[in-house]
Every structure is written in structure tokens, then in C-alpha cells.
């Protein structure tokens, strides 16, 4: 197992390197001089040149990259160019809680919606439940999250006036009920697309397992159907489902940009979009890098869980 873990981590290094180079270059290639932008319009050429030297903007690109990545590894993502003196890491972390709680909540809804329907669709194959589940998954794939959100707002907030159309209540500061009132629509719109995918995958992996020989064996032994589906099939389908949940968490974090903007939730998505208008590239860079790294780590964890559950994977 130790060897397997080391091997997995080692194969990740090139990916991590490429991600960091891409993110670094992206922002580095932006038009405009960051030094001139920080100093404002009435800066003299000497001031700009001085700041250039101070920030190390005259050094070769690879030196700038290594300096930047070194600082990032220590949790220092530079200072904002829009809000003078504000540290980017502080900005990102102060906006992280709404995004994280929203992502977790939307994943909970997704799992509760998708796994039972997926199992049902697999058992009642070709029946009404299966048909409804297919429509549901088609819709989920075709509707972008923000359209789902707009539809939900139109229905649940404008028409029926059940829930507020926008706004944010913090889970820890305002309590659970206000949080649920405000965050259910965003969580639903964020989770819907993924719920469709998760349902399809649950259905597919359940079908695969249900068709296997040992299930036939269990059936012929007279094991109850309930126990076959719940105990034997679901456990083996779980590996696929864990992967899908992991991917869903990442897509919830990434999709947050759109949904947070729609529901005016002060998370990192909103911060990122607002930073585009302010040309605050350091913030965009930090958020992209963080989420990409989180993605890599989550995928690593999934791989390790796989290795832990299924010894065959460790050997290849």
C-alpha cells in the first residue's frame, strides 16, 4: 500500500507542475503593466521602473515563476492590485466559507436525490420509474446551472414566494434554518446537473453488479432481494459512486462562480467574477490555482480509496 501511495503521488507531480505553469503564464501574459496599474495614472517613469525592480518584474520568466510558486507554497498569493494593501490570501479565505458550505449542502442534496433514483432506475429497468429517471438526467445535462437557478427563482421565489430569491445567511453565524431558507435554491441549482450524472452512473454500476455471477449465485441461494440490492450490489457499486461524489464536489466548487453571482452569495465565485471587472489578476490566479490543486488532491484521495478497497488496483 505504501508503494502504491508513493506511486500515485509521484505521477501527480507533472500535473501539478503544468497547472502551476499554466496559471502563472495566464496571468503573466495579461496586457498592461501591473506596476503602472498599481501606481495609478500620475506615476512617473522613474516610479514605475523602481517598482519594477522591487517586484522583480525585470527578472527572467523562470526566476519569476520559481519566486511566485515558492511564495504560493507558503500561502502567500501576493497583494491585491484593486484593494491596496489587502493580502490576496486573506481575501480568498474570508470568502471561502460560503462557497464551501454551499458546495457541501448541494452535494448532500445531490446524493439524496441521485442515489435512490439511480438504484430504483436500475431495479425497475424499462419501467415508468426508469423513464422518469432518464428524462430527469437528460434535463440535468442540458440545463446550465444558472438557468436551473433562474427557473427555480421564478418558480419558488417569484411565483410561490416560498423562499428568498437571493441573499446569503451564514450557517454558523445565522443558524441552520436561515441558512436552509437562503441556500436551498442555490444548492439545488448547483447540484441538479450533477445529480443527473450521478444518477446515470449509479444506475449503470448497479446494473453491472446486478448482472454479475455472484448476484445470480446469491439469488439462487434464496437471499432476499432487499439484501441483494442493499448489501451485495450497492456496496460494490459504491466505488463508482465515490468517484462521482468527488467529481461533484469539485464541479460544485467550480460552478459556484455562476450560481453565487446569481444568488448574490459572497463566496469565492463572486470574488473571482468581481475581480475580472477590477482587473485584480492576483485574486483570479490564486482562486484558479487553489481549486485546481484541490481537484488534484481530491482525485488522489479517490485513487487511494480505490486502492484501499480493491487490492487488484494496487498491483497494476
Amino acid at each position: 500500500m505504501k508503494k502504491y501511495i508513493l506511486k500515485r503521488i509521484f505521477t501527480l507531480l507533472p500535473t501539478v507542475f503544468v497547472v502551476s505553469v499554466v496559471v502563472f503564464l495566464l496571468v503573466h501574459l495579461t496586457p498592461g503593466d501591473p506596476a503602472a496599474m498599481m501606481l495609478g495614472d500620475d506615476a512617473t517613469m522613474e516610479d514605475i521602473a523602481a517598482l519594477h525592480t522591487k517586484l522583480g518584474l525585470d527578472d527572467p520568466l523562470y526566476i519569476q515563476y520559481f519566486r511566485w510558486i515558492g511564495r504560493c507554497l507558503q500561502g502567500d498569493f501576493g497583494t491585491s492590485t484593486a484593494v491596496i494593501g489587502q493580502k490576496v490570501s486573506d481575501m480568498v479565505f474570508s470568502h471561502f466559507r460560503p462557497t464551501l458550505t454551499l458546495a457541501v449542502y448541494s452535494q448532500l442534496i445531490t446524493i439524496l436525490l441521485a442515489i435512490p433514483t439511480g438504484i430504483l432506475a436500475a431495479r425497475k429497468r424499462g419501467r415508468i420509474a426508469d423513464f422518469i429517471a432518464s428524462i430527469f438526467s437528460l434535463l440535468g445535462i442540458s440545463l446550465p446551472s444558472f438557468m436551473m437557478g433562474l427557473g427555480l427563482v421564478l418558480l419558488a421565489a417569484v411565483h410561490f414566494r416560498w423562499l428568498p430569491a437571493a441573499g446569503y445567511k451564514d450557517l454558523f453565524a445565522d443558524g441552520l434554518l436561515p441558512f436552509l431558507r437562503y441556500m436551498t435554491l442555490p444548492a439545488l441549482s448547483l447540484g441538479f446537473i450533477h445529480a443527473a450524472y450521478m444518477m446515470r452512473m449509479t444506475k449503470a454500476s448497479m446494473l453491472e453488479v446486478l448482472g454479475s455471477d455472484y448476484i445470480k449465485m446469491a439469488r439462487s441461494k434464496g437471499v432476499k432481494e432487499r439484501s441483494i440490492v442493499g448489501k451485495h450490489a450497492f456496496r460494490n457499486a459504491l466505488l463508482t459512486i465515490i468517484t462521482v461524489v468527488g467529481q461533484g464536489f469539485i464541479s460544485a466548487l467550480a460552478g459556484a462562480a455562476v450560481v453565487e453571482k446569481l444568488f448574490t452569495i459572497p463566496g469565492i465565485g463572486t470574488l473571482m467574477v468581481d475581480s475580472i471587472e477590477k482587473r485584480d489578476y492576483q485574486v483570479i490566479q490564486a482562486i484558479t490555482l487553489l481549486i485546481a490543486m484541490l481537484n488534484v488532491v481530491i482525485n488522489l484521495v479517490i485513487d487511494l480509496i480505490y486502492g484501499l478497497c480493491d487490492p487488484r488496483i494496487r498491483l497494476d
Binding site: V23, L154, V158, V258, V273, Y281, I287, T288, V296
Partner: protein, 305 residues
């Protein structure tokens, strides 16, 4: 090179004739199989309707005497759907129907160009990756790295850097889509290279370049085309999302995402501003996905479902 099974007395021309007929027959079988699948036909119809809408938007709106940019006067602000303005009017007194139809032009152009460009570049990357193991390693690690950044985030970052306009939307979404196509092209090309006829070509002394482009490339074309329809669908979603965030196609251009961004502020007094662009976006995405599913089932009946 399948000639050796036929009798030697057959002339070349006759052989060619037989081959042509076989191909035609296979094509008919394929078309029949595609049409047999109800959902793919629905997809095909939606795709055609959307393309026609995009193509004839100026003609249709011209016949109705409306256009997507002109204000109809202050008394026409936020009017609900009526016979003269079937989709209502918006907050700056414009006809929503005309804007939605013109929106199809933007979405279809972006979808088509992103699909085409990412297929061309992605297939080239994937094909060349199979030539040289070192090149393969480098290209695939770059693809892995790009894929590790969630698509929408990479697109937003690219748009922030490049600046919001249509050309940059196409460039950003193409960059985002390339790794996926490259992976497919590479894995398919690796399969084709194992085939006996490629081995025979190599033994006969054909150059690598010739094998790659004349023999491997045509055989990976189908999965690439299928992927193109899916990329088309995702590009429509991504463009709408970017425009909705204000990082895509700038106003006053009538992109569906941009219209939804404006509609957000009037959601309490103009449901039609949300509903119609949303329906058109969802329908076209659905259409391309269903169409793509149908195509995929054709080339690989075992996949999906």
C-alpha cells in the same frame, strides 16, 4: 486492400463498383438505424431548427418588422408577450423575439467554431502524440494539467486575461475543449496503429507521416465527429455562462447568456425575459446532446445506455 478475397477474374472497375455498392448499403443501414432511434431524430430536428433559425434570423425578424437593437419607444418597456411581440419586450424597449433569434446566431457560431477548431487542433495533438513517446508524454501531461483546472474556471481566467468579446470566447472555449479531444484522438489512434493493415503499410515502407494522415486519421474521424457535437453543446452552455457573468460577449449583442444577465434584475416584473432565452439555450443543448448520442450509438452500438 481487401481485394484478395475476390476472384482474380474480376476487373478493377468491377471491384470498385462492388465496393461502392457495399459502402452505399452500409450507409443506408446506418441511416435507418439512426432514424429508428426516436430520441436521436428529435435531436436532429432540434439541431436543424436551431441552425435554420440562426441562418434566417434577419429574414424572419425583417418580415415581422422588428430587429434586436432598436428601441420601440418608452411605452413599449417590459411589455408581456403579445401577437405583435410574441416574446414580449425588454427593459430598454426592444423586441425579445428578435433578440432571441439573433441569439441563435451567436450560440451556433460559437458552438460550431469551438467544435471545429478544438477537433482540428485536438486531433492533430492526439495523432502526433502517438508518433513519439517523449512527445506523447509531454503533450499528455500538458493535457492532464489543463484538465485539472475545472473548465468553467479556466474559461473565466482566460476571458479575464484576454478581454470580453466573441473572438476571445471562441479562443478560450477552444483551449478548454482541446485536451478532451486530444485524449480521444490519441486512444483511438493507438488502437488503429495496432491493426494489421497499418503494420502492413509500415512493412511496405510507407512513411510515418503518410500512415498517420492517410490511414490512421480517417479511421479516428468518427469518434472525433461525435465528440464535436458534444463540444458544440458544451460550448453553448459555457458561452451562455460566461456572458451571464459579464465575461463573455458584451452587451448590446443579443447573446442568450447576456440576455439572462439583464433579465436577472427584472425577474419580478418580466418572466418572459428569463423564460425564452432559457428555453432556447436548453433546447439547443439538448438537441446537440441527443444528436451526439445517436451518432455515438451508430459508430459504437455497445456504448452508452
Amino acid at each position: 486492400m481487401q481485394g484478395h478475397s475476390s476472384s482474380p477474374s474480376m476487373s478493377r472497375d468491377a471491384l470498385r463498383q462492388v465496393r461502392r455498392e457495399l459502402i452505399r448499403e452500409q450507409r443506408m443501414v446506418n441511416i435507418r438505424r439512426f432514424l429508428h432511434n426516436g430520441l436521436s431524430v428529435v435531436g436532429l430536428v432540434i439541431v436543424l431548427l436551431m441552425l435554420l433559425t440562426a441562418l434566417f434570423a434577419p429574414l424572419i425578424t425583417g418580415a415581422l418588422g422588428v430587429d434586436p437593437y432598436t428601441s420601440l419607444g418608452r411605452e413599449m418597456r417590459l411589455q408581456p408577450p403579445s401577437a405583435a411581440h410574441p416574446f414580449g419586450t425588454d427593459n430598454v424597449n426592444r423586441d425579445v423575439f428578435a433578440r432571441v433569434l439573433y441569439g441563435a446566431r451567436i450560440s451556433m457560431t460559437v458552438g460550431f467554431l469551438v467544435g471545429l477548431l478544438s477537433a482540428l487542433i485536438g486531433a492533430t495533438v492526439g495523432l502526433y502524440a502517438t508518433v513519439n513517446p517523449i512527445l506523447d508524454n509531454i503533450l499528455m501531461r500538458i493535457c492532464d494539467g489543463l484538465k485539472a483546472i475545472p473548465n468553467i474556471l479556466l474559461a473565466i481566467t482566460l476571458m479575464a486575461v484576454l478581454g470580453a468579446n466573441m473572438q476571445n470566447v471562441i479562443i478560450s472555449l477552444t483551449i478548454v475543449s482541446i485536451p478532451g479531444v486530444a485524449r480521444i484522438a490519441r486512444s483511438q489512434a493507438l488502437l488503429v496503429r495496432e491493426q494489421t493493415y497499418v503494420e502492413a503499410m509500415r512493412a511496405a515502407g510507407a512513411s510515418r507521416f503518410r500512415i498517420l494522415w492517410r490511414h490512421v486519421m480517417p479511421n479516428i474521424l468518427s469518434p472525433i465527429i461525435v465528440q464535436m457535437t458534444f463540444t458544440f453543446a458544451t460550448a453553448i452552455i459555457s458561452e451562455a455562462s460566461l456572458s451571464f457573468l459579464g465575461a463573455g460577449i458584451p452587451i448590446p449583442a443579443p447573446s442568450w447568456g447576456g440576455m439572462l444577465k439583464e433579465a436577472r434584475s427584472y425577474i419580478y416584473n418580466g418572466w418572459w425575459l428569463v423564460v425564452f432565452p432559457a428555453i432556447f439555450t436548453a433546447l439547443s443543448v439538448l438537441g446537440f446532446n441527443l444528436f451526439g448520442d445517436g451518432l455515438r450509438d451508430l459508430i459504437d452500438p455497445l456504448s452508452g445506455r
